[in-house]
Amino acid sequence: MLYREAGDFKTSYRDDSQTFPIKLERWGYYAVVAVAFGIVPFVINDYWASAVLVPFLIYAIAAIGLNVLTGYAGQVSLGTGGFMAVGAYAVYKLMTAFPDVSLLIHVVLAGAITAVVGVLFGLPSLRIKGFYLAVATLAAQFFLVWLFNKVPWFYNYSASGQITAPTRTFMEQAISGPAASASAKYLVCLVFAFLVAWMARNLTRGSIGRRWMAIRDMDIAAEIIGVNPLTAKLSAFAVSSFFIGIAGALLFSVYLGAAEVGEAFGINKSFLVLFMIIIGGLGSIFGSFAGAAFLVLLPVLLKNLLVGNLGWPTDLAAHIELMIVGALIVTFLIVEPHGLARLWSLTKEKLRLWPFPH
């Protein structure tokens, strides 16, 4: 009744193919963006930024990156953690080598460096696919972590192998380091998440995205109709790694402030981001956000509920939390194997018909 297409006339192709064709949805999107940019920065505190929203936005960027590769182009990757490490170490080296250049530029450059590394490790995808490719990217994960542990140049020869983000400012506001305010950290991540989502959305519905999807659906058929697998697969690796590199750079410089590669960018990170896109929905930008929200916010929410409100012992709560999150993942995937994004679109489908389903 409220959510309907009736009366929402389109008079141009441009209107007809916009991202949010239904008016209510479009307004909802504008409202979310307005709240995220206009209201949240003024009310956010340290806990909300550091424990909830900043990790959510950074993981959403990483999930979008992996979704481009796995969801849209169909290339399974277990190297996300390694590529995030490339972004983090690239931004660290850039920050310390060129302290006068803005961190925002460094983050984008770190993404570009990761894109190059991603293309390099994407080369095997021209010969192998499916599980075999997953194993090749797994090798990337272990190799990159080993590399950053082994070569002291990457961590500027510090005694412990830790990298620490120095304070950097943007328009007189600290955006990295200990003095960065909650709203500054949040806004930096929000701007990057917004731009990445916007770019990903427009890439995936254009000719490049169609080529990726053609390769995903059937590579031989795609080749026959004139899609070049070399450029399609490698561009997917490049774009995906670019986003993942940005996520890694932000994770280190804005969120963690200090990192060591084995702990922050281990194989667990690769699985975490992979679970995000599987739960959120493969091949969906909204799904990337939903999956990141599910896996970042739910544990924090459960912890606060169980320990804070119910006063349970912390170890019991931590174990129960693992079980609840695990059970929810299994339940979600049984009820809706295509993830939260599909669940959301089914809900919209039902809402269109409500209250008179035929």
Partner: protein, 427 residues
């Protein structure tokens, strides 16, 4: 959907902060994950000591000590979440029991004005109080540990190590890499060869490292491990028949949990410690009476008297003494975080004071100042007796090699000061 989640989290966090008394000393513990076996006894000892003070003495200076617990699982991201959650409760001091989390918090606590107490772990150069204003790592640090271990080996070998080979088996993280620089310097000074064998976290797989040890036959093995890596390493050492009395772990590799899985094979394994072992101290009678028998023990209450429990209690003891000192200096029982820092810098725990506290000859005297945040770094060696199932102290407190360490500490802290743009204080 996206809007709903934050709303619920908001509601949860609003309700989450209970009313707190003035003295808040959080326990950033880990009772889950691959490091839980070591995290549980430490967390229990830490909480129980404050429970004892609250029950027996009515707190410190008449103020009850609150010990809110937060589970970090030894994970840096959860550590940040805990830090932000605890920060709102105005803690006096934090003790994260994780070198990774410590590195992350060092810049933050300087801005927020909260002390960090990292006994036996964390960033070694934090000993230099002129650079690290808010960090304290007395009574001993990783480099002290490495030096004490080498001194013990020197004693065993009659003072000459030239041509000997010492292997370092370490957790491939900030923690495990800490002693490398010191050992390299010491190997130059004493003329031994150093073999570095990293083990990736969490450390269940170290077969290849131990096969390498079997092949290259180092004279001694020094180990910096934690959590599950300890048990695996000791078992692997037994498997390759490495002589256990030539195998020396850092203090984090020397608890009952670490040696018991290897059974009789672990007999003779040595580790460092910076405090006494066992329950033959008057404090434990009080601990039993006021905490355990009263049913107020933290966790399952079955950890009393083991090595890590004692270490947790010892950390709590040093914090409690610093609180008392801070109250004395500030002239009020309701101290704030800045006064707490002054309390640490004025800390002076003498041998007589340890007797008063019911722990005679348990820890070395600690005297801190504006420049010295790390104490004297004394350590002793304990050895495992598998038949009796207990640790025995086999040496007295050994002094580390200050000549080498002071220069290294200075170098590293100056590098940090330059990187972070700090000017030295205490002038």
């Amino acid at each position: 959907m996206k809007l709903k989640f934050p709303a619920i989290v908001a509601a949860a966090t609003m309700l989450a902060a209970p009313a707190m008394a003035d003295l808040v000393v959080p326990n950033m513990s880990y009772r889950t994950g691959p490091y839980a076996a070591n995290g549980i006894p430490y967390a229990d000892g830490f909480s129980d000591y404050f429970t004892l003070l609250n029950e027996r003495d009515g707190g410190i200076g008449g103020q009850i000590v609150q010990v809110p617990e937060c589970e970090t699982a030894y994970n840096t991201e959860k550590g940040i979440e805990c830090y932000e959650a605890l920060k709102s409760q105005n803690p006096l001091v934090l003790n994260p029991l994780s070198t990774g989390i410590t590195y992350q918090l060092i810049p933050k606590i300087g801005v927020d004005g909260i002390s960090l107490y990292t006994p036996g772990y964390g960033r070694t150069s934090a000993k230099d109080g002129t650079v690290f204003e808010w960090v304290f790592n007395a009574p001993a640090n990783y480099w002290d540990g490495a030096s004490v271990a080498v001194k013990h080996i020197l004693d065993q070998e009659g003072g000459d190590l030239s041509g000997k080979k010492i292997a370092l088996v370490y957790h491939n993280s900030a923690y495990g890499k800490e002693p490398i620089r010191t050992l390299q310097e010491l190997s130059e000074k004493h003329g031994f060869d150093l073999m570095e064998l990293p083990v990736d976290a969490p450390g269940q797989e170290q077969k290849s490292q131990w096969l390498q040890i079997r092949r290259e036959k180092p004279d001694y093995v020094i180990m910096y491990a934690w959590g599950v890596m300890n048990q695996v390493a000791i078992q692997e050492a037994v498997n390759v028949r490495f002589p256990m009395d030539h195998f020396i772990g850092i203090w984090w590799s020397g608890s009952e949990n670490d040696v018991k899985p290897a059974g009789a094979g672990a007999d003779g394994y040595k580790s460092l410690t910076f405090h006494g072992v066992g329950q033959d101290y008057p404090l434990y009678a009080d601990m039993k009476q006021y905490v355990h028998d009263a049913g107020k023990a933290s966790g399952a209450g079955d950890q009393m008297g083991n090595v890590l429990y004692s270490r947790g209690a010892y950390a709590a003891l040093v914090i409690a003494e610093a609180i008392a000192k801070a109250q004395e200096l500030a002239g009020t029982a309701e101290i704030n975080a800045a006064q707490m820092r002054d309390g640490f810098e004025g800390l002076d725990i003498t041998a007589e004071r340890m007797v008063e506290l019911g722990l005679p000859d348990f820890g070395a005297p600690i005297k801190l100042s504006c420049e010295n945040h790390g104490g004297d770094g004394l350590g002793r060696i304990q050895q495992w007796d598998a038949t009796a199932g207990q640790w025995n102290l086999i040496t007295d407190f050994i002094e580390p090699d200050a000549e080498i360490l002071d220069a290294l500490v200075k170098e590293d802290s100056q590098a940090y000061a330059a990187e972070a743009g700090l000017t030295p204080r205490c002038n």
